[in-house]
């Protein structure tokens, strides 16, 4: 069966962060930051390998990254890293059943206990911490 036949929402539906609140935004950011970090990580391994080319090679490469664009990318990487880490810890706790609420008879109007304030705070802190870290990183890099 093709995608069309199955009427799946597809990638657009998967990433659409607008309909289902902050949890869905966190889900999307987690994915993007994970992929971003992986990309950076691969790059980083390559980057560091230039050290084998001796001081000249290393400095050449370093120069490439020590540009404004390079700094900006690094700042984003810092943000991704902080968000991914903090949110990752939240997600891991959640996956283990921590802080997702206790089963109880639901009363109308139904408010899902798993979509609770603890996890929302976790998500917002991840975002805020990421922003702070990014700012700090920018300050350090551009401050010199």
């Amino acid at each position: 069966m093709t995608n069309q036949d199955e009427h799946k929402a597809g990638i657009g539906g998967m990433i659409n962060p607008r309909r289902y609140g902050i949890e869905r935004v966190a889900y999307l950011l987690m994915r993007l930051s994970g992929l971003g970090l992986l990309a950076y990580f691969i790059g980083h391994i390559y980057e560091t390998s230039t050290i084998l080319k001796g001081q000249v090679g290393w400095n050449e490469f370093l120069e490439l990254t020590q540009t404004n664009a390079g700094h900006a990318i690094l700042a984003i990487v810092i943000a991704m890293c902080v968000f991914h880490t903090v949110n990752g810890i939240r997600v891991m706790l959640g996956h283990g059943g921590v802080g997702v609420g206790k089963p109880a008879r639901p009363d109308y109007p139904y408010i899902p206990a798993s979509q609770n304030i603890r996890h929302k705070i976790g998500i917002y802190s991840a975002i805020i911490l990421a922003a702070i870290a990014m700012m700090y990183g920018l300050a350090v890099m551009f401050g010199e």
Binding site: R105, D107, Y108, P109
Partner: protein
């Protein structure tokens, strides 16, 4: 030629009765191929709407007795119940409650861990076994989920059965339309259990699911089986306005009051002892009397109604025991039962009548059983007690499932498949209904038909209105309404709606003729022109047989074992 598929046992209808039968059959013989044919997706059957409870004697150690359950049932029936059948129900039921528990039914519990029961109308002991106020839903879930254990059950979701094929003596198969493709099939089988439920959508103000139409009954009727006691239609006292959705009797079982516009619990005038927990026929009549004597309320839709007061139960108790109706009243009527009075009015709720069967659910055609609301084994007589119907579905689901397998195991001599009957049915459907022309909107006709039933054969009836009603229905039937606009094959609900309408005429006619013929008041059948019960002339069941022109009406004796009819007082 019409394509065909084959099962050993065909179960038509997947409500409580159908699923219970399937489990029993599947368990008894894992080699038997079972097909559940349902015009809905199997688990979506109307039974999910049952709310209040399932009657059974569980606490003999605390003073309940089977005997008392039997007597309550018989007395509730206004002595039209077959007493041996009532006995069977009450004796079998406790085991079934435990069996359901062992299959995972989330019965509400007492502090000591035992299964909880609540008070219900017409009983002398609180014996409605409950699961919050969603008993039907949870029962359906338990049975559907338990069916998943058995690999020999096949689900024909959304297959609309249209006719029963037989050779005049013995069952051979059915014909059905697969809705998703629109294909017409013959389904061959050795035995059939009809569990197509009630037909409460004959009435426009009804607690039933929109799918509860008489097509299953009509199918049996056209195949030559009798419909029994169709004039007895139960009106539940508390349908909420404007939707007609049920507010369970459990609301009164937990202590709710019915009030008139003077703020009185008017039931004290009509049933001093049981008050709001008198049987439904009595409460509904009392409400209608209050309204007609000017002590009712007017709902903003213009309908007359009475008030149901649950406020004194308190928010917590309502949430715990009546969560479903709390949801319903807040959502559909905008009223929180812990704060406000609910607007309620008697509403079509149950058909005591159905396909004529014996005590074991066997119909007059060899190889065909009927169970659940579609069947009339006369356990409820002229008025069913609340909570006795889910019980009936479970007990006769089990009995018929068992007997059908025994019948199949004995072996059935092969007979040539009657292709001509299938072809004739195909012609009836496709030439008569699908391609039939006319320019009257069938949906409007359906509305008129159900409004007519509501007007002319409601809680109180009389000769004049019913004769008018019958005339109107025959007139509607003769209009050129037969047209299906939608000519696509796939998921053609226009077509199935028209098929349903087609069956409604025949069954509505039987309800009215039976009611006109019964010149007495008994149970749910209350006639203003014959207000008294008349045991010397009418202590019998009504049977209706198919005839292309007009149904042939007969009578059938009532089985009385221990309890002689006396006047009913509550």
């Amino acid at each position: 030629m019409v394509e065909s598929i084959e099962f050993d046992l065909i179960i038509c209808g997947s409500g409580l009765a159908g699923l219970r039968a399937a489990i029993e059959a599947a368990k008894k013989n894992p080699k038997i191929k079972i097909g559940i044919v349902s015009k809905l997706q199997v688990m979506r059957s109307h039974s999910v709407s049952a709310e209040g409870g399932t009657a059974a004697v569980l606490f003999e150690d605390e003073g309940d007795t089977i005997e008392s359950h039997i007597y309550d049932t018989v007395k509730g029936s206004d002595f039209l119940a077959d007493q041996d059948v009532a006995e069977k129900l009450c004796v079998e039921m406790p085991k079934e409650i435990y069996q359901l528990d062992h299959w995972g039914m989330p019965w509400s519990r007492r502090k000591d861990g035992r299964i909880g029961q609540r008070n219900f109308g017409g009983y002398s002991f609180p014996r409605a076994t409950y699961a919050s106020d969603k008993v039907g839903f949870f029962l359906m879930q338990t049975l559907y989920d338990t069916c998943q254990k058995y690999e020999n059950i096949e689900y024909l979701n959304e297959w609309f059965a249209t006719s029963i094929i037989h050779d005049g003596r013995r069952f051979m198969g059915i014909t059905a339309i697969e809705l998703s493709t629109g294909n017409f099939y013959a389904i061959k089988g050795k035995a059939l259990i009809i569990a197509t439920g009630g037909a409460g959508r004959l009435y426009s103000f009804s607690t039933y699911a929109l799918s509860s139409t008489p097509d299953g009954l009509d199918m049996a009727f056209r195949a030559g089986m009798a419909l029994k006691d169709m004039e007895f239609v139960q009106f539940h006292p508390t349908g909420i306005l404007p939707s007609g959705i049920l507010i369970t009797e459990g609301a009164r079982g937990e202590g709710g009051y019915l009030l008139n516009n003077k703020g009185e619990r008017f039931m004290k005038k009509y049933a001093a002892e049981k008050m709001e927990l008198a049987p439904r026929d009595i409460v509904s009549r009392s409400m209608m009397t209050e309204m007609s004597e000017g002590r009712g309320f007017k709902h903003e839709t213009g309908a007359d109604c009475m008030k149901l007061d649950l406020r004194h139960l308190g928010d917590e108790k309502i949430k715990e025991k009546l969560g479903g109706i709390r949801e319903i009243s807040i959502k559909f009527s905008g009223l929180d039962p812990s704060q406000e009075l609910l607007d309620v009015r008697p509403v079509a709720h149950y058909m005591m009548g159905g396909i004529h069967t014996d005590i074991d659910g066997a119909t007059e055609l060899q190889g065909v059983w009927a169970a659940g609301e579609a069947a009339c084994n006369s356990v409820h007589g002229s008025n069913r007690l609340g909570a006795n119907s889910t019980s009936e579905c479970i007990v006769w689901g089990k009995i018929t499932g068992n007997l059908a397998v025994e019948y199949i195991e004995k072996g059935i001599p092969p007979t040539p498949w009657p292709h001509h009957l299938v072809a004739a049915e195909e012609k009836r459907i496709y030439d008569g209904i699908f391609r039939g022309n006319g320019d009257v909107n069938p949906y409007e006709i359906r509305q008129e038909l159900t409004d007519t039933m509501n007007d002319k054969a409601y809680v109180f009836r009389n000769e004049k209105t019913m004769v008018e009603g019958l005339k109107k229905i025959r007139q509607l039937k003769n209009e050129t309404w037969k047209h299906v606009d939608d000519q696509a094959k796939e998921y053609n609900t226009n077509f199935s709606n028209v098929m349903e309408l087609d069956s409604m005429f025949r069954v509505a006619e039987i309800v009215l003729i039976g009611a006109i013929n019964r010149k007495e008041s008994r149970g749910a059948h209350a006639r203003t022109d014959y207000p008294k019960r008349d045991d010397s002339n009418f202590l019998h069941h009504t049977l209706a047989y198919y005839d292309p022109k007009e149904p042939i009406m007969k009578t059938h004796p009532v089985t009385i074992t221990k309890y002689q009819p006396v006047e009913r007082k509550y």
